[in-house]
Structures are given as C-alpha cells and as structure tokens.
C-alpha cells in the first residue's frame, strides 16, 4: 500500500497515515509513504505514523503542485513498487493527481471516501456518500490493480504509531518537464480554519438576512471558534464557499457544533454529524436537525446567538475587572 503525498503535510495527511497503518496491519500489507517534495524536512514527521518505508522524491519542481512533474514521477515509482492499494488525501492535490494516475494505469478510482476497510482477500472497501448524499455506497475494485482512492479530510482520527525500523529510500529524479508554467502565487489569508476549530457556529437560512450573520462571527471570536454555513447561505452569497459545511463543503468534527437556523438536510449532516456535541437552534420544533442534535433550542436563531454573545461578553467583563 502506498500513500501519495506532496509537501503540504497537514492534518489531512496525518489522518490518512493513521488510517492506512490500521488497514495495512489488518491486511498484513507493507505500508509505504511516497513524499514528493522540494525538501526533506517533513520526512521525520511522516515516520511518526509507522510506515514500513518512506520513499522520497525531492525536486525543486515539487515546490507547488503541477500535474506533469508529479504525474511522471508518481507513475515511475508506482510502476517500480507495484502497490496493490494507492491512497491520497482528497485535497486539490490528491483530487488532481489521482485521476491522472488512475487513467495512466487503466484502473478505477473512488473519490472522496469517508470510510475505508480491507477484506480478507485484500480488497479495499471504499465507502463514500453517493447520489447527492442520500445514501452511502461501498465500492470495490475487484480485478484491477492498483486499487485507488482519495480520502476526505476530517473523517479519520490521528493516531501515532512508533516504529523503529522505518526504511528511508531516496528515489533519484532526473529531468522533469512541465508543459504548464507557474506565473505567480498569492497566498490566501488564513482565517480561523474551520477544520481545526474546537467550536463552530454555523448559520443557515434561518438567520433571515445577511446582516444577521455578523452575530455568528462575534460569537465565534468570543469562543476562539470559526463560522460555518449551510449551502443555502453560500448560494445566497451571505458567506463564501470556504465556510460551507457538508457534502459539497467541508467535513468538520469540532467539540461543539452550533447549527443556527439550519434545517438539517442530509447533505449538511454529511459534514457535521460526527461532531462531539451538537446544539441546534431552530424555530421549527420538527426540523430534522433536532434528530442529530444533543441540545435543541426552539427559538429564533438570531436572538439565541445574540443572547449567547451577551452572556459571554458579560462574563469576560466581570472576570476582566
């Protein structure tokens, strides 16, 4: 089993590395991490997750992802090691490289899996939401190798795995060509990342108007959290797509998820139902969101959020002096 990674090693990679170790143990497979990067600095970080082998391909072109150089390198390395399973995080990197790799090897690829398992024959059981999130589907690749899948960030736990005899192999990369040329890079400003927030205040159409969304930001900043949104809110352009939680947005798993004025459509639930504590605020006693919530408040969403802000502000005033 090979995990394909680029130099942006972050949470999503760690989650996948942790899960892959478990799968490899269950199937008695060897686990290798393939790191294509412009430096070796992340190698030790990867070793914390118990690979049998770390394969390193270092080249300055791997500074930022571009399909041509990554594809030609990954193709060569996969051909050399013939893994039976190839996984990558379902980031813009994995979601671009893996289809091209799968097409090159004339094999199948399952996008955006939320659950992975292996059976006794070494088949990878790839589970993902299907048909607009209305159902889950388990997919196998019975006769083609490698079996390939990208894995949705935010669904697996991070578990370290100490291993003493990790083998490091550096693959030599000769000339790499790229038909595309990077002209410039402009970093996006990093707000509180939804994926990392312990508390998420998420807003739906039940906030009634765009101006009312401000109260969610106030609450989020008081609790060092982040603001999420339903698709209806993003479609109405109250917030940008970065905030969207759900099937076609992000998967989150905070300690507390506050769903304010969100009906609880399956597609939204797909992105937040594994949160530790779910608080739902909706004026409709029968809104589906209450079925997945731990605490439900039947009231106006804007009003409840304002109350929460007031109470927390009062607290901090009192303790402050």
């Amino acid at each position: 089993m090979i995990l394909v990674l680029n130099n942006k090693i972050d949470r999503s990679s760690f989650e996948l590395l942790s899960k892959a170790r478990k799968l490899a143990d269950k199937a008695s497979m060897k686990l290798a991490f393939l790191l294509m990067s412009n430096s070796k600095k992340d190698v030790q970080q990867l070793a914390r997750f118990g690979p049998d082998m770390v394969i390193l391909a270092v080249h300055e072109k791997f500074n930022r992802f571009s399909l041509d150089p990554f594809l030609s390198t990954a193709k060569k390395i996969l051909a050399k090691y013939s893994p039976s399973i190839v996984l990558a995080p379902a980031t813009t990197f994995g979601r671009t490289l893996m289809p091209a790799l799968a097409a090159s090897f004339r094999t199948g690829l399952t996008a955006d899996c939320t659950e992975l398992d292996v059976d006794e024959k070494g088949n990878l059981l790839q589970t993902r939401p299907a048909i607009g999130g209305n159902v889950m589907a388990t997919i196998v690749t019975p006769t083609h190798r490698p079996q390939m899948a990208t894995v949705r960030p935010g669904v697996f736990e991070i578990v370290e795995h100490r291993k003493d005899d990790v083998q490091f192999i550096e693959e030599r990369i000769e000339d790499l060509s790229d038909r595309c040329q990077l002209i410039s890079v402009e970093p996006k400003q990093a707000g509180a990342r939804l994926e990392d927030a312990k508390i998420i205040v998420s807003v739906g159409k039940g906030l009634r108007k765009k101006e009312n969304v401000e109260v969610a930001f106030k609450l989020a900043s008081l609790v060092k959290g982040a603001v999420g949104a339903s698709r209806a809110v993003v479609d109405a352009r109250w917030l940008s797509h970065d905030h969207q939680v759900g099937l076609s947005g992000k998967t989150v798993k905070p300690r507390i998820y506050i769903a304010a004025g969100i009906s609880g459509a399956v597609q939204h639930l797909a992105g937040m139902q594994t949160s530790e504590i779910i608080v739902a605020i909706n004026k409709d006693r029968y809104a589906p969101i209450f079925k997945v919530a731990d605490i439900g408040i039947v009231a106006d969403a804007y009003w409840v959020l304002s109350e929460l802000v007031q109470r927390l502000e009062r607290e901090s005033d009192e303790s402050g002096g």
Partner: protein, 266 residues
C-alpha cells in the same frame, strides 16, 4: 479558436432511484438538466467564442434523454452538439466514461484549442472524468480554475484557486481546464436561441460507429463495482428546550462553551 465543452446530464438528485442489483443510479424516466457546474464551463466557452470567433462543440455521453440537455446547450450558444449513447455504456464508472469520451473525440476528429470541463458533477460528485479524459488525450490540465485571465493564440493564462493560495498558470494550447463556478455566470437562453435549438441537429453515435469495444465500457469495462448501498442514520437523544425552558437551554450552552473554550474537559 475552437472550444470543446464536456457536459453531463444529471437527474434531479432529490428523486433518484437506485438499481438494487447493480447499485448504480437508474437514470431512465427522470427529468434531467445540465450539470450546473458544466453550464459555467459552457458559458465561459461561448463568451470567449463571441469575442474571438470560432466554435463551441458540446460533447456528452448519456442516455437518449441527454438530447434535451444538448438542445439547451445550443440554445445557450453552442454550435455543435454530439451525443454518445448506447446501452453498452450504461453503468460506466469514471474510467469507462473517460475511455469512451476519449475514443469519441479521436474517432470524430473533434478539433479544439481548449477543452473545458466542470469541476464535478452533482450526481457522480467525483470530479475525475475531466482529468482522466485529459490524461488519455495527453493534454496539459489545470484544475480548480477560478478565472480565465487571457487566451492567446497558443497559450491560456488562468487563475487557480486551491486551499492556501490563488495561483496563476500558463498552459500551452491545446489544453484542458477543469473550472469552478466563478469562471462565468451562465446566461439565460434567448428566444432566438431556443428556436435555433429546436431545429438544430444533434449528432448521435453509438459504440459501433465510434469503434468502441462493448466489453471495454459500461458496467463490464468498469474497474470499480458498487457492492453495497445503505443509509446512515445516526440519531441522538436530543434534549429540547422550548417556550419557558429556552433560557435554561441557553445557560446550558454557555456552560458547555466555557468548558470547551477554557480547556476543561467535558
């Protein structure tokens, strides 16, 4: 400048049924529309054609009712519409779909400078077909394109939006772009457009006319198999605070928030 836009027909996701045996979607007998993301891809192509001259071809693989979607594409400014339709193609996964589309493009000798795909389809949701197809055709690909900055006679300059940055990339033509919604805002069809669409010829091909081996595509030719389809239901025991209890509920939430914010467990 010639454009090829890959459009997919998608069913109304709320009403979809699943074949209990193959585990794939039953597409027959459903109202279909153009995959919303593909309508942004089409608009980008049509608006560029209007500026630079040339033509826009739309290509789709799907059941016969895809004709309606292709007529819509013509009403919106496409010049040529091609449908690849055959019962042998049913149940194709992304590999088999890409293979069939690649063969059609080669066999029909469709010439283009820019191939444009949507980011993903709302039913398949894989976002793989455009990239797999481009790989089979050996085209340079730029994904997550948020804006087309410039289209020159032999290059295209685009902005790409990824997790941590906006990047600007230059790709030689012919190239494939997988585009986000923001590339163009779809127009509404005009009356004249609808008229043109009504009389327009939709070219229809089957596997035989393209020279596709029926074993290579469809369910048979697909490396992946759906083995199980199931519902996930997780229900929690919700404590509801309504009417006179509302303030009590708010107090409880304040308590929880403080516990988490201040790092005391539970």
């Amino acid at each position: 400048m010639n454009f090829l836009v890959l459009v997919k027909q998608v069913p109304d996701t709320e009403k979809v049924k699943i074949d209990p045996i193959s585990g794939t979607m039953v597409r027959e007998g459903l109202d279909v529309t153009m995959n919303p993301l593909d309508s942004h891809a089409l608009e980008l192509a049509v608006s560029l054609k209007e500026k630079l001259n040339g033509s826009v071809t739309v290509l789709s693989m799907g059941p016969m009712n895809t004709i309606d979607v292709l007529r819509d594409a013509i009403a919106l400014g496409a010049d040529r519409a091609i449908l690849l339709s055959d019962s042998a193609l049913a149940g194709s996964d992304t590999w088999a779909t890409s293979l069939a589309l690649a063969k059609a493009i080669e066999k029909l000798n469709i010439a283009f400078d820019l191939m444009i795909c949507g980011e993903k389809s709302t039913d398949g949701e894989t976002g793989q077909v455009g990239i797999e197809l481009a790989t089979l055709l050996n085209l340079p690909v730029v994904t997550y394109v948020s804006e087309l900055i410039e289209l020159g006679s032999n290059f295209v300059l685009v902005k790409r939006s990824i997790e941590d940055a906006h990047e600007v990339w230059k790709a030689p033509l012919p190239a494939c772009l997988c585009v986000l919604k923001s590339v163009a805002e779809p127009r509404l069809p005009t009356l004249a457009g609808k008229k043109t669409a009504m009389d327009a010829k939709i070219e229809i091909y089957d596997t035989e006319s393209i020279g596709i081996n029926r074993e290579e595509v469809g369910l048979k030719g697909s490396p992946t198999r759906v083995v199980k389809v199931f519902n996930t239901k997780i229900a929690r025991n919700c404590r509801i605070y309504a009417d006179k209890d509302i303030l009590e509920g708010i107090e409880r939430v304040v308590g929880l928030i403080k516990a988490v914010r201040d790092g005391e467990a539970k």
